[in-house]
């Protein structure tokens, strides 16, 4: 459907031997693709051999740690292994912990600040870059580049840019005759600065997903709407946005999960401060375990976060599959 020959971000990448037979090619061999009786007894241990390494690693480095974490959440302990069993006391503490309330509120502000902003900017870029513009392949690549940088790298770069004394942000403001802003050093602006930074890392991702979806909208539909007299804005509102609804719901879930798990950038830029102004839930878990040495409480907090994530991750499973199908 699209005639462009750009090497980047096209909608139908060739996948030799891969995606093409995905849905239809099960017929000839029948069944769900298990080894048939021809390979007899031998095949019984074969799958276990193939999945064995993953299974052992899962057992040792995922399952056992999770079980220990659950056990910890019922203990009062500063160091591992010497805890006292305290029943559900850690969970009871949560209900009256003012810092937890702050952390939850911060998490909400952070999530609400980052998710819709990144998605709207990403959508706008995708719509603009879906047109036949000169140099659009290069532009797409430029918008995507921030995704490549590690959270820590983003954190140090942005700490430097927003440094109140020598940072380029304030230097530029002062060159324009304006007053510099405190950015990360004031509880009033720190969260806003973090939101800005995280949106910056996220727009390329939203753009790519939206581009994939836009390219799958048949151009005949748009032309038909145009012939029927729909204006640019109307087509956007009545045709494009509704057609993108499934993509929007996928992106919403993915972005919420990303925001709930965002750690590195915040850790490097503010460490949760000043005060507790940027302490989100995941920061608070880390802080309780390592700064406050309350392992048991930290484990309980972590499981609370897990419960929140559970909802979104179940949806994410679904979303990931759909996101894959889009490209």
């Amino acid at each position: 459907m699209s005639r462009n020959a750009e090497p980047l971000l096209q909608e139908s990448p060739p996948r030799p031997g891969g995606r093409a037979p995905h849905r239809g090619a099960r017929g000839p061999a029948g069944g769900a693709g298990h080894a048939p009786s021809a390979s007899g007894r031998r095949s019984r241990w074969v799958p276990y051999a193939f999945v064995g390494p993953a299974g052992l690693l899962f057992l040792g480095f995922s399952l056992v740690p999770i079980v220990i974490a659950v056990a910890l959440s019922f203990q009062d302990t500063a160091t591992l292994g010497e805890g006292e069993w305290v029943g559900a006391a850690n969970y009871a503490t949560m209900t009256s912990d003012p810092l937890l309330r702050t952390a939850l509120l911060n998490t909400l502000v952070f999530t609400v600040g980052t998710v819709p902003t990144a998605m709207v900017v990403g959508l706008a870029l995708a719509i603009a870059l879906n047109r036949p513009l000169p140099g659009r392949a290069a532009l797409r690549a430029l918008f995507f580049v921030p995704m490549v940088a590690a959270g820590v790298v983003v954190g140090v770069i942005m700490s430097w840019i927003f440094n109140p004394d020598y940072g380029v942000a304030n230097n530029a403001l002062e060159a324009l005759g304006l007053d510099g802003l405190p950015w990360l050093t004031s509880p009033r602006t720190a969260m806003l600065t973090l939101v800005l930074v995280v949106v910056w890392t996220r727009i390329g991702f939203c753009m790519v997903i939206y581009l994939g979806a836009l390219q799958s909208i048949p151009s005949e539909l748009r032309e038909a709407a145009a012939i029927d007299g729909a204006g640019r804005w109307q087509r956007l509102r009545r045709l494009t946005v509704p057609m993108l609804a499934p993509t929007t719901s996928i992106l919403l879930i993915l972005n919420v999960v990303f925001s709930l798990q965002a750690f590195d950038v915040i850790y490097v830029m503010t460490g949760g401060g000043p005060g507790f102004s940027t302490t989100v839930l995941i920061q608070y878990v880390f802080r309780s375990a390592f700064a406050d040495a309350r392992m048991g409480y930290a484990a309980a907090l972590g499981l609370l976060l897990t419960a929140v994530l559970l909802v979104f991750t179940l949806l994410r499973q679904h979303a990931t599959k759909r996101a894959e199908d889009l490209l």
Partner: protein, 305 residues
Amino acid sequence: MTALTTSGVRDAAAPGRAAGRPGRPSRSPRERAGRRRRWLLTAALTAAAMVVVFPLYWMVVSALTPGGQSQSSEFYLWPDAPTTANFGEVFAQQPVWRWLGNSFFIAGVGTALSVCVSLGAGYALAKFRFRGRGLLYAAFLVTIMIPIQVTLVPSFLITARLGLVDSPWAVILPTLFDVVGIFIARQFMLGVPDALIEAARLDGAGEVRTFLRVVLPTCGPLVGVLVILGFMNRWNDFLWPLVVLQGNENLTVPVGLSTLTNSPAFTSPWGAVMAVATVAVVPLLVVFLVFQRTFVQGIASTGIK
């Protein structure tokens, strides 16, 4: 712009797009307006792209700026006297080469082993029916929702028991199990035709041979995505290496970088930090530029990060 057109609504509806479309009668005033719009949009997008890329540009510029200018409230976009002194200083004072070596070893070996594990697991889960398959797969998937902070302490305990703390293997081993990788591998392997596998078996090929010689060669794009995502995530990983690596010589680049901030030991503290940040980003930037398509596909299809 629409005032000039004759056919009313229809033209008003698609002024921007029509210009580039072949097969329509050419209407020169409209076409010119369309072209102008397009260039305006391109200019606006280019400006936006500049803003988006600026932080990375600034990282490189700051790495090249001498301390005097960088520690001032002067506004500049390019240093008066660019220098590589910051690189020289930080490489001399800190074991940056070691950090790079550690990062390459951990990301390289970790990715290679992890891709093998994921391919095997994906193959078994996609192409065999065996007892416990559903339960195993569900259990794998559940681990996605457990944030690393929850299992950080127990995982550290296990790693310490194995006597691995401060060794690169302490980073590699616990991250070999990659649920997302297994998930992608399984999804892809579902698409490998059963007939292909059957034919190999009928020809008398063993199971391992079938996998290596028949199944794997169809999985080129899959391996590309797994390798690039695996490498990127390991190269950028921070929290786990921060916890299990201790000696300054043994750190990875991101962890080393995080220890440098606010270090007064350099003539240009931020210049030194930006020099290491540049070194940390460049390898991935090269990978991104060379394998753009796989890179973008991989990230878009899994929603990592």
